[in-house]
Symmetry: C2
Subunit: 311 residues, 2 copies
């Protein structure tokens, strides 16, 4: 068994070591960020690629998630990765493995939810694959674009940068726990922050960004590790009704986490979504583990969702 | 249930109708060919994208396929699609859903087989996703490139074109039936015809091409439907030991099927792989169904592998 023996992070490090990218490749960023970055020959833009699987009983439950909600969410997660790099979506690919319980109405509903979001975000479906299987599994690839060299990476934060989050955190975890109200809607239909991502890149000159998919404590730790900094934060803004624990460690908020150069004065909100400074990056201290975070001066463990350790 | 009610083809047509591509999109070819074709802004090349799922008990069996063979095949199928469009691979993405029976040694073996072929074909792994699941499922995206406007499509054949196949057909079906010898190796480790695909595009000016993944009878019928032609063929070259039925209807040969303009004189082989003329495309006759094929003057039904009807 993989579960219990390795964390997702340690498996990914091993794969990353095995999967060396040859020098001179058009791949500018490979495994480890929200998206891979590919530079087309002679092109004016870099292309971003992200791939996300959605599995029954892991990422959704067919007893509580409608086919349309499931299709929506399958695409929303990839779009959120494009937003985190400051990109504009260009197209998507969808592979769907369909078990026998999923009838034609379910499959049509899934595509309806998926394609509605695809139209709203100008992300045409370019292709995919379809097969019968025992468990419903879908894999979505989204391609986005940024001006050459402009992608916002996890690794760009410098000591002394302000740390910010969009929105209020913990809503998705609260929704999953209660199954009703605004929080449940939040869990079912997260909004990819595409316009905000571009605003961070073009106007705020963010030094690093990523989306909050596995919980602030784990995701901020990953950003700090990639950027080789530490972080010192205050409690983040909490979704109405959620606990601080849900805001710190709950996954699937799909808000953006980003850092700004010292002296930045971002607006208090962007298109109705609050932008809140929650702390500052600091220099790494020798002997401390990478990615260390202090919350109100006390170490914050990365308790967010690890797909291999929490299963 | 989807099986028994719809064919893969009818489901794909419905999805294609739902998934309209907006005018002015950078997508030059969407759903329906071996790859989607995307034109980067200001770029010198078109990019090709193909996505293929590999599922336990459908595309391989863990009792007979080693982890390395499975990893090899997961990538080979996508590379074969790139070959069919005349492209050179640029990078790949891999999503892997791992069930509990797959221990660390299995996962490492899978990546070893996958990454060895990736290195041999200069197709670096750019990213992916990893999750625990009940059934092993993997989804591979391969990106390739061709000069702008140069992709070989299924839809380019004109009446009077010669129809050709590479290699000898039915080897994979024979291997699956017997489980030993050269045919079994053929089934386990199909060779993507990347150099041949580029030769077809650059030197032979092929009018149409596709790879033989689901059997000659079904794949040629698809090509004829896309090109709005009929076909009249002789028996294709048969893999030693295979039956004519296996050569006509057996899947997973991953040879190339292509058409050449009248008067073409291709070599008898390319890098040791025979190139054989098996027939000619003809004008569609009113009242006949699309994609009709005659074998030695008699109608050949498209009996190849349909993932939804054969399940």
């Amino acid at each position: 068994m993989i579960a219990g023996r390795s964390s997702e992070c340690s498996i990914l490090s091993r794969i990353k070591r095995m999967a060396s990218v040859p020098s001179g490749s058009q791949l500018k960023v490979g495994i480890g960020d929200d998206c891979a970055v590919f530079r087309p020959r002679g092109g004016a833009e870099d292309l971003l690629f992200t791939t996300d699987m959605l599995l029954d009983e892991i990422h959704f439950r067919r007893t509580t998630h409608s086919a349309e909600d499931t299709g929506y969410k399958a695409l929303a997660r990839g779009l959120s990765d494009i937003a985190a790099m400051g990109g504009a979506p260009r197209f998507c690919l969808l592979s769907l493995a369909v078990p026998r319980w999923a009838d034609q109405a379910w499959v049509d509903g899934f595509y309806r939810g998926f394609l509605k979001l695809a139209r709203q975000t100008a992300t045409p479906l370019a292709g995919g694959d379809l097969a019968l299987a025992e468990q419903l599994a879908c894999d979505v690839v989204v391609c986005g674009a940024v001006p050459k060299g402009g992608a916002l990476l996890r690794s760009g934060a410098m000591p002394g940068n302000g740390i910010y989050v969009s929105g209020k955190l913990g809503g998705s975890a609260l929704g999953l726990a209660t199954g009703n109200g605004r929080a449940w809607k939040r869990h079912l239909r997260p909004e990819p922050r595409l316009a905000l991502g571009r605003f961070l890149r073009e106007r705020l000159h963010a030094t690093a960004a990523m989306d909050l998919s596995d919980g602030l404590s784990l995701d901020l730790s990953r950003m700090c590790t990639a950027s080789r900094v530490f972080a010192s934060i205050e409690p983040p803004p909490v979704f109405p009704g959620a606990t601080l624990d849900q805001a710190l460690h709950g996954g699937e908020d799909y808000e953006l986490l980003f850092t700004l150069p010292p002296g930045s004065r971002p607006p208090a909100s962007f298109e109705g979504v609050p932008l809140t400074r929650i702390g500052v990056t600091t220099k790494v201290r020798r002997g401390d583990p990478p990615g260390k975070i202090l919350l109100e001066g006390k170490p914050l463990p990365p308790l967010g969702f690890d797909h291999f350790q929490n299963s």
